[in-house]
């Protein structure tokens, strides 16, 4: 049975993520304790809301150090939505804020003409080799997943991208760089397609 530490840093409702993982048989521990995070093999960084306060909370609580320690010991990290955006170098939401810098690229507003927020079901196109890498769990091209966000990553290293989405231009929907995984969309709200992704996160041993 897979144990997952769900990082609790007071940013948004994490109940849906916890329930979705539990339905797949995972044992989920919700924790704001940096040492607990550092010792985990699988970590989920959720998040809904604004970038800057979330970033400050991660730094102020010591959870950032916990996350870095977990990754250094070979743990797998899954960032979801805002947790995904935090993986990048910086965000331009309400002034530029530095991110965790685990991935190259910046979080920027959508281009002109795209309806914002980007709310609803959109299709993702698997990228990399094999297409969709490990994170997409073998989902076919054009699978539908659920997004809710107003900013999107830009300038990511294409080698890190596991799936693209298109909303007023192409942007990374899912990333995988070693054990740093992330989804801009909400797998816990994406019905069967989301289950495939969370199951992939739980499946193999990290490393």
């Amino acid at each position: 049975m897979s144990e997952v530490v769900l990082v609790d840093y007071g940013v948004g409702n994490t109940a849906s993520v916890r329930r979705a993982l539990e339905r797949l048989g995972a044992v989920v521990a919700q924790s704001g304790d940096p040492e607990r995070v550092a010792a985990a093999r699988r970590v989920v960084l959720p998040g809904v809301g604004a970038f800057a306060p979330a970033r400050e909370r991660l730094a102020a609580t010591g959870l950032e150090e916990g996350l870095r320690a977990a990754l250094a010991s070979g743990a797998r990290l899954l960032g979801l939505c805002l947790g995904f955006q935090l993986l990048f170098e910086s965000s331009a939401e309400f002034g530029v804020t530095r991110g965790l810098g685990l991935l190259g690229g910046r979080v920027e507003p959508f281009g002109p003409g795209a309806r914002v927020p980007h709310v609803g079901w959109n299709r993702v196109e698997p990228a990399g080799s094999p297409p969709g890498r490990r994170i997409l769990g073998g989902l076919p091209g054009g699978a539908w997943v659920y997004f809710v966000h107003s900013f999107r990553a830009d300038g990511a290293d294409p080698a890190d991208v596991a799936a693209w989405c298109d909303h007023g231009g192409r942007f990374p929907a899912a990333v995988e760089r070693g054990e740093v995984w992330g989804c801009q969309f909400h797998p816990e709200k994406s019905s069967s397609a989301g289950r495939a992704i969370l199951a992939a996160f739980l499946k193999e041993e990290p490393g």
């Binding site: 927020p117 709310v119 079901w121 959109n122 076919p140 054009g142 539908w144 659920y146 816990e188 397609a193």
Partner: protein
């Protein structure tokens, strides 16, 4: 690729129960919102909306408990509204698992509530519900639209476009626009009001009120710019399904997330999204056809109970028997262990093959396998006694009728006419009766074979399709029930 237009069933709840008609046949408890919600997710709903129509202060706890139960069971987003008056009210619902909350009356009473909700939870969590009503006095003599409260009974001074623009500026992430004039009429959405709101905001608009037919949905999107469509009673009362709305939208060129039946998700398809389908005769176990299906064909098959496929040559969805009448009633859909093939077990009403043959497969003669008539090897060897199967007889007679051959007894009979065929059936019937009381087993088998052959010829002469007999037999056995939900 583009964002799908969302189809949102709305459930009216009070005291933690669904309060309007819910006619799902297989719900154990028609009043249980959780069971209904799960059923809607399985049907392909993109999102759900729960509106607490009682919304009394004493019942807040009941609503929060309901939201928690729904969140436990659902893997699609859902919005909750009714009686949200403060940041604390909204916080309790979001903490219980709601993805978004809607505010209406409280926002009209104090527009700053929208700002505070957006600042606290983010714009994506805040849906402002606007109940618009048509009043006289628009520019050029047309109507204008004002926001109302209390189920449309109290009009406000707020013009819908101005109000929509204001809540957008205050941080609303979506507008749920209900026409109180159209609501309940089932005469279609109020397109002029939707257009007026569309021109006033850039955030998504959910069209609500008035849907009565699937044809009502595409214009709300294509002519009035809605990003999502919401309906309540037409889904609850099973007037049509979420899948039917999605097909109507897709047919009109609107992008939708196809409704995939539960259990048929995440199939391994080819680049065109197709999966091979093996079709098998439920009665005989014979393979009938190998064909292809896309998600929509699978959804239609599951929903209607009739074989639907995708034609690679015509690049189109089709229902088996649509033009020939030789439909196939599906009794079971199975998925291959690698999820890369699907099996339909069917009760065919006529030939499977376009050539008029019962099955699309014809044995290749002359190959060095078991000699014809020899006992088969393998699993089938355990049952050496052959089953009586009239299908080959029907095929041969149909073949002769279509392509007469010189010297054929069948063709001679058919040429002599219906009366002669009928007379032969009478004679053979008497011979069967005689053999039964005087002859041995072999003689009786021979006479029965003669009778069956002549019955088949008589049916061909009269043009009676074997499926009519099959249907009759099934009705007697009580197999066949009234078809449900035929398109």
């Amino acid at each position: 690729m583009s964002l799908a237009v969302r189809v949102i069933p709305c459930l009216d709840v009070a005291g933690g129960r669904v309060v309007k008609g819910l006619n799902f046949v297989d719900l154990r408890d028609a009043g249980d919102p959780v069971e209904a919600a799960v059923r809607y997710e399985a049907e392909g709903a993109d999102e759900l909306c729960f509106l607490d129509i009682a919304a009394s202060h004493e019942e807040r706890g009941t609503l929060v408990a309901l939201v928690s139960r729904v969140a436990e069971a659902l893997a699609i987003p859902f919005t909750v509204g009714g009686g949200v008056r403060s940041v604390e009210d909204a916080g309790a619902l979001l903490a219980a698992g709601a993805d978004r909350i809607t505010v209406n009356t409280a926002a009209i009473a104090d527009p700053s509530l929208v700002t505070r909700l957006a600042e606290r939870f983010g714009a994506q969590c805040v849906v402002v519900a606007v109940d618009g009503k048509k009043v006289a006095g628009g520019t050029g003599g047309g109507p204008r639209f004002v926001a109302s409260t209390h189920g449309g009974r109290r009009l406000t001074e707020l013009e819908v476009p101005a109000w929509v623009a204001e809540v957008t500026a205050r941080g609303a992430g979506e507008i749920l626009l209900t026409s109180m004039d159209a609501d309940g009429t089932q005469a279609g959405f109020d397109l002029p009001m939707l257009r007026a709101a569309r021109a006033a905001t850039t955030v998504p608009i959910v069209a609500s009120g008035g849907a009565g037919k699937v044809e009502h949905f595409p214009p709300a999107v294509l002519e009035a710019g809605a990003d999502a469509v919401l309906a309540a009673s037409v889904f609850h009362d099973r007037v049509f399904t979420v899948g039917a709305v999605k097909r109507a939208l897709a047919a009109a060129g609107v992008p939708v997330r196809p409704a995939v039946p539960p259990g048929l998700e995440a199939l391994v398809t080819d680049a065109a999204g197709l999966v091979p389908v093996v079709i098998r005769d439920e009665r005989t176990g014979d393979a009938l056809t190998l064909a292809w299906a896309n998600a929509e064909a699978l959804a239609l098959t599951a929903e209607t109970g009739f074989t639907h496929l995708y034609s690679r040559s015509r690049k189109a969805l089709w229902k088996k028997g649509e033009s020939s009448g030789h439909v196939q009633r599906v009794v079971r859909i199975s998925v291959d262990c690698d999820r890369d093939a699907v099996l339909y077990d069917v009760l065919p009403e006529g030939p499977a093959c376009h050539t008029g043959r019962r099955t699309c497969f014809t044995a290749v003669p002359g190959l060095p396998f078991a000699a014809p008539g020899a006992a088969p090897t393998g699993p089938a060897a355990a049952a050496p006694a052959p089953r009586l199967d009239l299908e080959p007889l029907f095929e041969i007679v149909a073949e002769r009728q279509a392509h007469p051959q010189p010297g054929s007894y069948t063709n001679r009979l058919l040429a002599e006419g219906l009366a002669r065929c009928a007379q032969k059936v009478g004679e053979e019937g008497v011979e069967v009766a005689l053999a039964a009381v005087t002859g041995d087993e072999k003689a009786l088998a021979g006479e029965v074979a003669d009778l069956l052959f002549h019955v088949v010829v008589l049916m061909a002469a009269r043009g009676l399709d074997p499926s009519a007999v099959q249907r009759e037999l099934e009705e007697r056995r009580g197999v066949r029930r009234a078809p449900k939900g035929e398109p």
